[in-house]
Symmetry: C2
DNA sequence: TTGAATGTGGATATTGACATCCATTATTTG
DNA sequence: CAAATAATGGATGTCAATATCCACATTCAA
């Protein structure tokens, strides 16, 4: 239903919002969100073109939010990479009758509208500040190890929690 | 957002529901719904495997609804050809924590749930019996010509209604 | 100024969704 | 049975989404 690109973009932007207003490099974001680094570049380009993030080349560079998590909605991110296409005209008619959708396509469009509405009403800050203390990219706080480690800090790092397979 | 296959399946099933309990051949459905005939075969196969339609080979054969338009929902049709995949577990975690989605994916799943709910609550008969007299596959009654014609009856046949390009 | 860090953009591969074609099977009618 | 009708299933083709790679441009620090 949602494209892989949307999934990646949202993961990345959540991570960026979480570290706002600081910058993160592409590789840092990729490691934290488990998105293929090479492809993440492309996705982030779309977000930059949509003026959702700023980029900075060179040493100490990276990506950061243009605005604040309070004002940025999930919908803006989604529309930047893979816009929700509302059904404007009957997909059957060569020349559709304006806004008069048939009952079938009206229902389908209403479904799209509900998604659009829900996403448009959700800011990044809302995603980040859930009351239950759950963490954005997984259901528990990220593993923070007080050491330089080989593996990047994975929000949802594979970990055996005692539960057998 | 919705796949082409879903679009085709819904068009076909609306047409079948509209002519229920009669049969329609694949080519009749294809002509009426403007779906590529060869591909429609594949889509209809999915509906048959889901026991939503019955098929009959040979002279006088075709496809018809198994049930009634009153009990068949859009969701059943959608799930037969391209199931709505709810987000059950965190897409990031190798081993996700059961049903505890992170805030981001919970929102995304809620959007999917709203689509699922809307589609599950809509029967084919509801689509067919809109109060405004609008017609299922387009916003006006189909062109019915009292003659044998070369072109099939297209519900949304391309027609110049006086509006310039 | 040099080199390391970092994003940019173009070329290219991979994959699955969409679509077509055709030989075959099943059914009905004459 | 023979012929016409109609669905079935397998093989194949096409294309856009996904994904990778690399040469290049930009920036900072030493």
């Amino acid at each position: 239903m949602f494209s892989q690109t949307v999934e990646y973009a949202l993961r990345a932007i959540v991570h960026l919002a979480d570290s706002a207003p600081d910058s993160q490099t592409k590789d840092e974001i990729a490691a934290a969100t488990l998105v293929p680094p090479a492809y993440l570049s492309k996705v982030l380009q779309s977000l930059r073109k949509a003026d959702i993030i700023q980029t900075q080349r060179g040493v100490g560079g990276g990506m950061r939010l243009v605005g604040t998590p309070e004002t940025l909605t999930i919908l803006q991110v989604v529309n930047a990479v893979d816009p929700i296409k509302r059904i404007e005209t009957c997909p059957l008619g060569i020349r559709s009758h304006g806004k008069n959708l048939c009952p079938l396509h009206r229902r389908m469009d209403e479904a799209l509208a509900s998604v659009e509405s829900a996403f448009g009403a959700t800011t990044l800050s809302e995603v980040l500040s859930e009351p239950h203390g759950s963490y954005p990219l997984c259901s528990h706080p990220p593993v923070r190890e007080g050491q330089l480690n080989i593996l990047p800090t994975l929000p949802c790092a594979p970990q055996t929690d005692g539960t057998p397979d």
